[in-house]
């Protein structure tokens, strides 16, 4: 019967993508790094390494450690800063038709607001993804993403200064993800991304000290998939915003799990390191799954496991 290709297009609120597979911030550099390994034109969207107003050096090494089916990172948000991003990285990305989503981070609400205002002027930037897992320096270093009021404030500041879609990326290190999700929805976000990394650590028993110079780091990779899926499911139950699922997605099957849980699109993170071909394999695999089941459009998968 269905010899036609299934429709892989998705809409994340006002953002339209040719397929639901994006690259997770911080795992795909500024796109260029994967240029010879991935057909960048095939991706749903490219999300670049988190950008701050000023360049950041990041944490001292060691910055990464391997764990069971996962990895810890404490890169410390090293990035080239907004100016160099605009001057050096955007030109390459302008040559790629795939929508560009810029992940932004700051130390204060003002930082986020200024980033939003500056990037509003950049046509290539299809949407912003606001990383609220960063510590708020004005409020004793507590992460924006763990306090609903701060999450609301950041979201609103970005919303008011950016005219295209605003996606807010939630931290999983909270008691109740739905409280943060609702705060962000109320503040006017167009979509949610979840999850960011789970706070963890590892110890070198020979040196008798933490493996990461920063002590703590963010856990990512297949190990956290059950946590990400659970949070996507919970968020899908409590807000009506479109949700982008992230966490441990390595295969098409993983991506489909997230869609069935309620995500309308997904991001591939750590898997890019293990298998640079992961994003393209996932796009193909989702297509095959739809064809095999006679499903016309990938959008029909969203939330299907929640309706049973």
């Amino acid at each position: 019967m269905a010899i036609e290709q299934p429709d892989m297009r998705v809409s994340i609120g006002p953002l339209h993508l040719q397929n639901p597979v994006m690259t997770a911030s911080g795992t795909f550099g500024y796109g260029e790094e994967y240029g010879s390994l991935v057909n960048l034109h095939r991706l749903g969207a490219i999300i670049v390494k988190g950008i701050s107003l000023r360049p950041r050096q990041g944490n001292p090494p060691p910055r990464i450690a391997e764990t069971a089916a996962g990895m810890l990172n404490a890169i410390g948000l090293e990035n080239v800063g907004l100016e160099r991003f605009l001057a050096e990285k955007i030109p390459f990305l302008e040559g790629i038709e795939t929508p560009l989503i810029v992940n932004i981070l700051g130390d204060s609400v003002d930082d986020y607001q200024e980033l939003a205002a500056r990037l509003d002027g950049e046509e290539k930037v299809a949407a912003l993804e606001v990383n609220i897992s960063c510590p708020n320096v004005r409020h004793g270093g507590v992460a924006f993403g763990t306090d609903p009021e701060m999450a609301h404030a950041v979201t609103k500041a970005v919303r008011d200064h950016f005219s295209r879609p605003v996606i807010v990326k939630l931290s999983p290190n909270v008691t109740d993800i739905t409280v943060i999700a609702r705060a962000v929805e109320e503040a006017g976000a167009d979509a949610l991304s979840l999850i960011n990394t789970v706070l963890g650590m590892a110890i070198d028993i020979e040196a008798e000290k933490p493996k990461l110079a920063n002590v703590f780091g963010g856990l990512s990779g297949p190990a956290i998939k059950p946590i990400g899926l659970r949070m996507v499911w919970q968020a899908a139950e409590s807000v009506s915003l479109p949700i982008i699922g992230i966490g441990g997605i390595t295969t098409p099957e993983d991506a489909i799990e997230y869609l069935l849980a309620g995500a309308c699109a997904i991001q591939v993170g750590t898997a890019n390191f293990i298998n640079p071909g992961a994003t393209e394999e996932i796009i193909r695999g989702i297509g095959k799954h739809l064809t095999a089941r006679g499903i016309d459009s990938v959008q029909e998968l969203t939330g299907r496991a929640r309706r049973r």
């Binding site: 790094e33 390494k49 990041g58 944490n59 990464i64 391997e66 996962g70 640079p276």
Partner: protein, 260 residues
């Protein structure tokens, strides 16, 4: 520089000592553009544990797209790799990073410690395309002789002068490879060094005193090998920010980086 991801067949597996293996792998795309000092990222398991790829220097490139890696079993990943058999496929990514700059005048000193000798054979062979064997000297060190003898012969067969040092005195001089450097004449020359960090720090210090340029290949934890994860940070000489071993290195000029 273009990197390739390839399913590459293991053509040959040699066990050189208790824990040192040499694999010959068929990977034409990666072989073609490889330069000495560059590396590949190898997936060591089909499952999700161990998860990350492991970096290995390119040890030799032969005709027909064959590439060799030389590795030591130090943990779970290398143990899994050692168990793989000819005929099996390895998921390889490469060639990666910045290799040695060997278009230098004067003497060439190739200094390797332990498994750090891996990239030096490829380097020596490439050098011989433009310089005489007599312009090259190879100094290799290891804990014990079994880690060195096969490799020592590989260099010797190229007509290059090789000096060996072992900590237990079982082969060559008893002592550290850095001690062999003392007797070398100062002046125009370049050191190409690879080995454990403490050794490289000493090599950098000796080179400075002797007036040699010094290039070192640094090992760091790496997740991607592609300048994407920013995991492989190395403190700059000016202590102001980081360079990244997978892109700016793994070969650095000893003056570029801070020695801690």
């Amino acid at each position: 520089m273009r990197a390739y991801q390839q399913q590459a067949e293991i053509v040959r597996s040699e066990k050189l000592s208790d824990d040192i293996y040499r694999f010959t792998v068929n990977m034409a795309d990666i072989a073609a553009g490889s330069k000495p000092g560059q590396f590949v990222m190898v997936r060591v398991a089909e499952g999700l544990d161990p998860l990350l790829r492991r970096p290995f220097s390119i040890h030799q490139v032969a005709k027909g797209g064959l590439v060799q890696i030389l590795f030591k079993v130090v943990g779970r990943g290398t143990r899994a790799l050692a168990g793989m058999q000819p005929g099996q496929q390895l998921d390889m990514l490469g060639p990666l990073g910045r290799g040695f700059a060997h278009d230098r005048p004067g003497q060439h000193y190739l200094v390797g410690g332990g498994i750090g000798i891996a990239p030096l054979l490829f380097l020596a062979k490439r050098m011989l395309k433009t310089v005489e064997p007599s312009a090259i000297r190879v100094l290799l060190g290891a804990a014990t002789g079994t880690e060195l003898d096969v490799l020592g012969e590989d260099f010797a067969s190229l007509g290059i002068d090789v000096q060996l040092a072992t900590e237990d005195g079982s082969l060559g001089e008893e002592g550290l490879v850095t001690e062999l450097m003392a007797s070398l004449p100062p002046g125009e020359g370049t050191v190409y060094a690879c080995g454990p960090y403490p050794m490289l720090r000493v090599v950098a210090g000796i080179s400075r005193k002797k007036g040699w340029e010094c290039q070192v290949s640094l090992e760091t934890m790496m997740a991607c090998g592609l300048a994407a994860c920013l995991g492989c940070a190395v403190l700059r000489r000016d202590m102001n920010g980081y360079v990244h071993a997978c892109k700016d290195g793994p070969v650095f000029n000893a003056d570029e980086v801070a020695w801690l």
